[in-house]
């Protein structure tokens, strides 16, 4: 069974370590915050200018001056700090953010990523995505392995306009966990019940399979 979006987020959450500063993009990445392992303290950065993002507010407690990078009303946790957008991207560029989780339309076997523009469609802009992918020291992409037509989104080279080159370190898709290596996508884990053959057939880029590939396990 392919992973649900919640399970993709759950799997990515296992990459978190105590003391990590983490930037979570819009979509599946946002869900990662719901699965932070117990006993681990993670500080969420929102690139509009906040460290220490908390959960959504209770009804009636929304504060229009307090939003995240997705423009959603949020709260803060104790120890939070506000700053301007230059410092926000400054700390990202300087490698102070330990992990960035982003969605993508395409990822290449070199770690290139495309997630901002589809030629012929209205382009809304890259927002902070280009800064994040070019700057973050550790980027995990959360994505579907294929598009709705069943075509692979893990490619030898991106076909869509690039957001950044050679920057993605790991992909967690609905079918697999893969590292980006000099030899291409290295398969690390399979979704429960998904075969290596299925992953191979749905991965257009080079796929490196070494030894036995374990299935992901999810505690309920």
């Amino acid at each position: 069974m392919a992973l649900t979006k919640e399970q993709i987020a759950q799997r990515i959450a296992k990459e978190l370590k105590d003391g990590f500063y983490v930037n979570l993009g819009i979509g599946i990445p946002t869900l990662v915050a719901n699965y932070i392992p117990k006993g681990i303290n993670v500080v969420l950065q929102s690139e509009n200018g906040l460290l220490g993002m908390g959960p959504f507010p209770f009804e009636g407690e929304e504060d229009p001056d307090l939003i995240n990078a997705g423009k959603q009303t949020i709260t803060t946790v104790p120890g939070s700090a506000f700053f301007d957008s230059a410092m926000s991207f400054g700390m990202i560029r300087a490698g102070k953010v330990d992990l960035t989780v982003l969605g993508a339309m395409e990822v290449s076997e070199q770690g290139d990523i495309a997630n901002w523009k589809i030629p012929g469609k209205m382009v809304k802009g890259m927002g902070g995505a280009m800064d994040l992918v070019a700057s973050a020291k550790n980027i995990i992409v959360a994505m579907m392995h294929t598009n709705p037509k069943g075509e692979s989104k893990l490619l030898p080279g991106c076909m869509l306009p690039l957001t950044g080159v050679n920057c993605v370190k790991k992909v967690v898709s609905d079918l697999a966990v893969l590292d980006i290596t000099p030899q291409g996508f290295k398969l690390l884990e399979r979704a429960p019940g998904i075969s290596v053959e299925e992953i191979r057939s749905k991965t257009a880029g080079r796929l490196l399979v070494e030894g036995e590939i374990p299935e992901m396990k999810f505690e309920v």
Partner: protein, 232 residues
């Protein structure tokens, strides 16, 4: 030296057709609502607006777009805005999309007297076309120039009569950066206090950067994405 003006109409009195404006805010958070209303009323045209977003159809910079006052938007993300889309597709509106961190840092560069900065954002992508790419320590960076804006229009939480500003929460965003970057900087504030009332240790924008200041009125502070959780 009197920086205090009566209101938005006076503050924007010399913003004329063709001006290059910076407008603070992220989404609808921390936008200069009063000055936008006055710009709409004044009907000044052919504006170039540097602002992270373009508002929504009926609020923020969207109001200026509805009124066909904007010639060019320089933004990182233009969001959900039907009129914006219509004008862009019809060729009425010019749009330059640039990465958010680049936008922020080009404002800061102007305020810090740095003619240009290097950032990795966009290196190797179409954003790099026509720009100088330079490698430092094995990584590619683009040379990006400081903005040159006639007016910066920002919204602060508190301000004093000397122009010192303090921002609230994530309504800070681009506001202090743009405040530093305008040839003329206009600040509208929720609460204007006499000089000396703000703690000098805790000022975000020193008054030297601010030329006009006034206490705004009737802030709507519209929420773009109201997200809540249930009480257990």
């Amino acid at each position: 030296m009197n920086k205090v003006v009566a209101g938005a109409d006076e503050a924007i009195r010399d913003i004329n057709d063709g001006a290059v404006l910076m407008l603070g805010g992220f989404g609808l958070c921390g936008i200069p609502e009063n000055c936008i209303a006055s710009l709409v009323k004044k009907g000044v045209k052919n504006l170039t607006c540097i602002s992270n977003n373009a508002g929504v159809d009926d609020f923020g910079i969207g109001l200026m777009l509805q009124n066909k006052q904007v010639k060019k938007m320089i933004s990182s993300y233009v969001g959900e805005n039907a009129e914006f889309e219509r004008q862009l597709l019809s060729g009425e509106l010019e749009v330059e999309l640039i990465p958010q961190g680049t936008l922020a840092t080009r404002c800061m560069a102007a305020g810090y007297g740095m003619p240009a900065i290097y950032t990795p954002a966009g290196a190797g992508t179409e954003v790099a076309i026509g720009k100088e790419t330079r490698n430092f320590n094995g990584k590619d960076y683009l040379l990006e120039y400081a903005f040159d804006a006639d007016f910066a229009i920002v919204k602060a939480w508190k301000g004093d009569t000397d122009g010192n500003l303090v921002f609230k929460e994530t309504a800070r965003n681009f506001n202090p950066l743009m405040a530093m970057a305008g040839k003329i900087t206009i600040a509208e504030v929720e609460e204007l206090v006499p000089a000396g009332e703000l703690d000098p240790n805790l000022i975000h924008t020193p008054g030297i950067y601010v030329h006009r200041i006034f206490q705004g009125v009737n802030y709507e502070k519209r929420i773009e994405q109201r997200t809540i959780r249930k009480k257990l």
